[in-house]
Symmetry: C2
């Protein structure tokens, strides 16, 4: 294993320390349990946005803490769910009296720990909502999760809901918005190479010289198929059509019922994409794929969307939800309305994404 690290045990801590040294104007850190949060938090009367998950997907989530996006991030060990006390600490650090929205990617460990954290925070008098992101059309169930995995739409949800918090949306309204972003978003990914988790020291899986994995998850979870390499256009078409042609997807999720002070089951169905829809298109590098190749993917994606009557009104191209140094890419399409677009365009200032300031 060759990495720019000191010891596998210190990777997460030292990386956070470096972030704080680089972005001390924006961020602070709490250690043990680890939380990265806005230097100006808590923001009185403003809903706080918290996300978290295993490390190794940087810049998600720590790089998205700042004005117009997350209020705090709870980074677990590499590819390991953060513990409930991390999310509880995050909630306590950033709650400004208007409550906390937890954006949770659908992995069994994340969901369980975020639920436990929500109950603990509620018992300490902090209003909390957990909204699940489960946008990966590649697999329905996997080793890591029941239902679809949470991937690229997470980045877009964090941005749109973060902007809504800045505008003063209350907790219920932001939770509704976040659920709607998830319902409107779909993703799929692929890999050309594996990545190596520092604590393990060897590649998570092996792909042959001419093989790729289609439908892979962000921890290297197996996808739909392992197949011979194809051209960028063919790969883009496979993923884009899988996303665009994905029909209604229904499931039951657990959301907190604040009146009953208990979890309730909520029925959700994602409507399919339809001609005339406006989209944010997000082409993401798994980490090791150069941005020049992402633009080749984006080129084909734009052509395919055009052929389907889907209008890309905004885009994001770059390494934003990664799997360490894995080579590969993912595509996320999010159907947007005027409200989401206005929020997308509002001022944003985080280490990883900045505009409109």
């Amino acid at each position: 294993m060759k990495k720019l690290i000191n010891s596998p045990d210190d990777v997460v801590r030292e990386s956070i320390e470096g972030m704080i040294l680089a972005h001390g104007d924006l961020l602070k850190a709490h250690y043990e349990p680890n939380v990265i949060y806005r230097a100006d938090a808590p923001l009185n009367g403003q809903v706080a946005l918290v996300s978290g998950g295993g490390s190794g997907h940087e810049p998600m989530h720590g790089g998205f803490v700042g004005l117009g996006m997350l209020t705090a991030a709870a980074p677990g060990e590499v590819f390991t769910s953060p513990t409930p006390d991390q999310m509880l600490e995050a909630a306590k650090l950033v709650d400004g009296g208007a409550g906390v929205l937890n954006i949770v990617k659908n992995y069994t460990g994340d969901v369980m720990n975020f639920e436990m954290a929500a109950e603990l925070a509620n018992s300490e008098g902090i209003a909390v909502r957990n909204i699940l992101i489960d946008d990966d059309v590649a697999v329905k169930d996997s080793l890591y999760t029941a239902g679809r995995r949470g991937v690229g739409t997470t980045v877009l949800a964090e941005r749109i809901c973060g902007a809504a918090a800045e505008r003063g949306y209350d907790l219920d309204r932001i939770a509704d918005l976040c659920r709607q972003v998830n319902i409107n978003g779909r993703s799929m990914g692929m890999a050309l190479t594996s990545c190596t988790v520092p604590a393990k020291g060897s590649p998570t899986f092996e792909l042959g010289e001419r093989e790729m994995e289609i439908g892979i998850g962000i921890h290297g979870e197996p996808g739909q198929a392992r197949m011979d390499m194809k051209s960028a256009d063919e790969i883009t078409e496979m993923m884009a059509l899988e996303i665009i042609n994905d029909g209604a997807y229904s499931r039951t999720v657990r959301e907190w019922d604040s009146e009953a002070e208990d979890w309730k089951e909520v029925e959700i169905t994602d409507p399919p994409f339809a001609s005339g829809d406006r989209l944010i298109a997000f082409v993401n590098s798994m980490g090791g794929t150069p941005v020049s190749e992402l633009y080749i993917v984006y080129r084909k994606l734009a052509q395919i969307c055009d052929q389907h009557g889907l209008t890309i009104v905004r885009n994001l191209v770059g390494p934003y939800i990664t799997s360490l140094e894995m080579q590969g890419a993912s595509i996320t399409l999010l159907k947007v309305d005027d409200e989401m677009l206005a929020l997308w365009d509002s001022p944003l200032n985080t280490p990883a994404l900045r505009w409109g300031m």
Copy 2:
């Protein structure tokens, strides 16, 4: 070779097409010869900033075209100098009557072709200055260049001079500023893995399972030494001390003498860094190294600068001058004054970097 491409011959063209589809609000492209330029160019009465070089270093340079940075970029084939007609076309497309500053990385082919382009542009009545960036302290001469190679300082020079152009600096003043940024900047890089140029299809070089190359160039040119892997702190210290302890470096460069309408020889000496200096610190990924590892490098770099009485007043951490999917990192330190800092902070809107808008 596994890459998200269609054919090696189409990589540059299709990547530019994707960029234009994604960033049509900011950019336009001219094909054959290939130029990426600001959609709002030419800007009347404003000095135009042009850079270029081989492709494969994205987002440099095309991703830096936009408000507050480059007016145009001339991307060659992968790791191949752009041709003089590309830079001439760029000058003709973006000259707003106030002349063109070419920012040229010190590689023999780039220098020669930018000089030829400058003479051609001058003969067509466009005032041109060429300023060389030669900031790599690792090697004095190499297969690719006489003198030091041009690397990370290029990104910082493009930003600072681009901001100066927005403020209405005239051509002579911007050329002086660019020369000063180069004089004040020093860089060094290292690699953990090679990259694969699409047209060749196999890695540029081979590194053993436990080897790294220190002082490597951005095309995979050999550096100072191949050695056993060390920790991130040790690697950072090696590079940072080489940069900080680098003494005065003198050389003669060719700059255009507009009165004599000919090239003149200019003597330049870089002063060493001294305690009390203020710096922009730039920790760059060679492409395949995750940003989480860059922050581990930045953490140590900040400690070392502090120990030497050097104050980091701004920083840039990310993949900005890359070598395709190569794993590794480079460090650039730039001594700044109030003027450069004010320019650094001014509004910036490009595909790869945006702030203060």
